[in-house]
């Protein structure tokens, strides 16, 4: 195995060159370049994190805006609802009043008309009774020759009219 056979002869030069090359690696690459590259990565990560944070904040703000918009919408709508409700109630009340008044008018007219009809009917009935009684008086006189008083004839006629 040359690695072991040659150790005595070559260890000094190997260690020398290793220290030289690894020293260069450590001081130039490890201490010089590594932190810079890692710093770039960290800076980029930070930038990305900041951007994400900003986006998140903007999102939250947009949500808040939407929420306030929604609340305002809700308020406006309920106000409009109330307004509609109120005007509807007002209109209802007005029409109710008008209807009642009209009803009352009509009822009064109907009552007078009914009273008129009733009086006329009574008048007519009286006339019919009078006429019927006279007719009955005449009939009785002609048929039987008996004299019937007007009052008796009227009484009989009323009774006959009542029974149909």
């Amino acid at each position: 195995m040359p690695q072991i056979d040659q150790i005595a002869a070559t260890y000094a030069s190997q260690i020398f060159w290793l220290l030289l090359t690894f020293g260069f690696t450590f001081f130039v690459i490890g201490l010089g370049m590594f932190p810079k590259i890692q710093g770039t990565v960290d800076a980029r990560d930070k930038r990305i994190a900041d951007d994400l944070e900003a986006a998140r904040a903007a999102n939250v703000k947009a949500d808040e805006l939407e929420e306030s918009y929604r609340v305002k919408m809700e308020k406006d709508r309920s106000e409009a609802q109330a307004l509609v409700e109120a005007s509807k109630a007002k209109a209802n009340a007005a029409s109710e009043k008008r209807k009642n008044k009209a009803n009352a008018d009509i009822a009064a007219k109907v009552a007078t008309a009914e009273a008129d009809i009733k009086s006329r009917a009574e008048e007519a009935l009286k006339e019919i009774e009078g006429v019927s009684a006279e007719a009955a008086q005449d009939l009785v006189a002609k048929i039987s020759g008996a004299k019937v008083t007007k009052a008796a004839a009227l009484k009989e006629t009323k009774a006959a009219l009542k029974h149909g």
Binding site: M1, Q3, T10, I15, W17, T25, M33, Q38
Partner: protein, 260 residues
Amino acid sequence: MAAEEGKIDPMYQFEVQTILEGFSLGGQQIALTNSAIWMGFAVVALFLFMRGGMKRELVPGRWQMMVEGFTGFIDNMMEANVGPAGKKYAPYVFSLFMFILFSNVLGLLPVGVLGLHPFTVTSHLTVTGVLAIMSFSIVLIVGFAKHKLHFFSLFVPHGTPLPMIPFIFIVELLSFLVRPFSLALRLFVAMTAGHILLKVLAGFVINSSNAGAGYGVLVGIPSFALMIGISALELLVAVVQAYVFALLTSLYINDAENLH
């Protein structure tokens, strides 16, 4: 190649060859070897890769995305295993992970086709040992600096009955001391074994084909098919071993940092 007729040495690939004599440092000869060159390749490739991710644009391109994938991966690993205190170790663990990963993958490059000889730096115990000792030292230094002698309570888990404490302490101490060896050996063995297997199979292909068309079809083609599969597996191992090394390092650092 050191391959004579019927003799292909699967260990040859691990040999460290001196390219330039180099210089002397503290009585030791520091030669420019193929190992050093491949370490250099790995670091240059890693540097170029990282350069592509340095545009630092807000919207990343593909390359930057890829680099950020790696840095984010290690960053998350430290965050998950160590917590907020893990951030300051991320550069070290990242260097460790990327260095091992690039060394592993570069060692698998099929540059042999071009006449080059790929060399896997992390298949050498010396290299993995030094890396493991570095991680272990960080754990020790951080542990003692942060918790002083209280750090030894790491070896006594909560709720241990009093008479058991000495035994548990010894067992936990041993497991703690074995950590650098397990780190070093795991990477070294994983890289070595896979490379040997690939070379042995390649030897089968070459030798059986040389022995005749019949052998070539019977042994060579299945071996070659197996090589393709194992190469894919080796790529996976290259990544997984780098990950395991970094993961265990982060877990050990967590022990030192958070102490239960």
